[in-house]
Symmetry: C2
Subunit: 254 residues, 2 copies
């Protein structure tokens, strides 16, 4: 039996009652540290909740997946994933491979940064287009397609949620992401990433240190809100109702 379990956004505090029960029944618990990060004390807190050892599952363990699946053939194995259980493709890969190996898989959904951040800003979730991911940039890797996808949303009057990449347990910061977008603007020159463009940044959504700020792109970039994980919304037209919410629920950077 393999449980793929969303941990939500608050560490063990956001485990559901049903998840906490399933966790206590588990013979073996893996904590996935490859696609996202959790509050700092999560491993200790999980250990004391389960009364046992927590194994950390990195990219190698998740993507080769034979160890987890082999264990799950005759044990109750739980893989804990920050946020929702299946938001990253890699967890659906593991789920499919487990099924092929004859292992029963149970999915426990939980809160995701996607809905939590969007709804907390007050922007309407049905006005969002494609979610876009911003990867780390290297000398020979500068995917301007990121800009193009935000632009398609914008042209269709859809807001864009921009998720920032994670590497070695650190997520990209707001300033870095906006800096890359400005370089993409220099390349495409469509007027999407201008100094006066309103952008919204969400940091550590769901945690005690949560902050949501907004303001002109250059102001937000200068302010460079600290903390992680962070995400950005590039809005299209913000209607009156959304504007009133945003002003009530987020802090303006001038």
């Amino acid at each position: 039996m393999l449980n793929i379990m969303g941990l939500g956004l608050r560490g063990t505090k956001s485990l559901t009652l049903e998840e906490a029960d399933a966790l206590k029944e588990s013979d073996l618990v893996y904590f996935e540290i490859y696609t996202s990060i959790s509050p700092g004390n999560t491993v200790d807190s999980l250990s004391s909740l389960t009364g046992g050892m927590i194994r950390l599952a990195d990219r190698n363990l998740i993507e080769t997946d034979s160890e987890i699946i082999n264990e799950a053939k005759n044990k109750i194995v739980t893989l804990l994933v920050t946020g929702d259980a299946l938001s990253a493709t890699t967890h659906n890969e593991l789920r499919m491979e487990a099924q092929k190996a004859g292992v029963e898989v149970r999915i426990f959904e939980n809160a995701s940064i996607i809905t939590a951040f969007i709804s907390k800003t007050g922007l309407f979730n049905y006005k969002f287009g494609n979610i876009v991911s911003m990867p780390f940039i290297y000398e020979n890797f500068f995917p301007v397609s990121v800009y193009d996808r935000i632009y398609i949303n914008y042209s269709n009057n859809m807001h864009t949620l921009l998720l920032l990449d994670l590497k070695d347990g650190k997520t990209m910061g707001i300033q870095d992401a906006l800096g890359i977008l400005k370089r993409m603007e220099d390349s495409r020159k469509k007027g999407l990433i201008e100094p006066e463009r309103i952008v919204i940044a969400g940091i550590a959504i769901g945690s005690e240190n949560e902050s949501i700020i907004y303001g002109n792109l250059d102001k937000v970039m200068e302010y460079n809100p600290p903390g992680s994980p962070a995400s950005i919304i590039i809005p299209a037209t913000i209607n009156d109702n959304e504007r009133e919410f945003l002003e009530a629920f987020a802090r303006k950077i001038n």
Copy 2:
């Protein structure tokens, strides 16, 4: 103090550990029954968890909002919302009005049908465009804009999640929703809603009776999967990886 608390998709079993604690400390608990529905035993189960009376909050109570806000001025009041806490605009309205009245508001995010359904099908969440809602249709109310919005997504190669309306505690069924889309096709004639188009239906996602099926539109419509609440995905191009997932995780209707 006003807690706006997502209940997730499984009734009280999907309350988080932190939510369960906050619920026990509450002086007054409202259960919102206007924007979505929960498993049938949820009210009884909530009553026994809180050891007290649960008040049902209907449209009138949520939208006039003075009763809840007045109570929250000197009591700990919790509003429980199925799914995520803030997915419906009306809960952000309440949150804003409470803030204006000087009431401290705490938000507890939880799983949403939006991410849970999409991720369980195996379709990639970053390939979805605008979420579209299908309202009940009346003689003088036939909003073909629903079709137009799905079409914009489709033209940009984005999948559409179609959420079905709720009225008097009942959600629209799959057959009714697809029937309305077919009538909209007759009006717009853009070839979007054709008999051979693949559609995916999700019923009671997260619950014990969950089912996800897919197939040609006419086959799914004929089969008319029972149960509620239900949602539909109208996919654009499904790539090879998504197709492999869909075949593994959903049941094909022939």
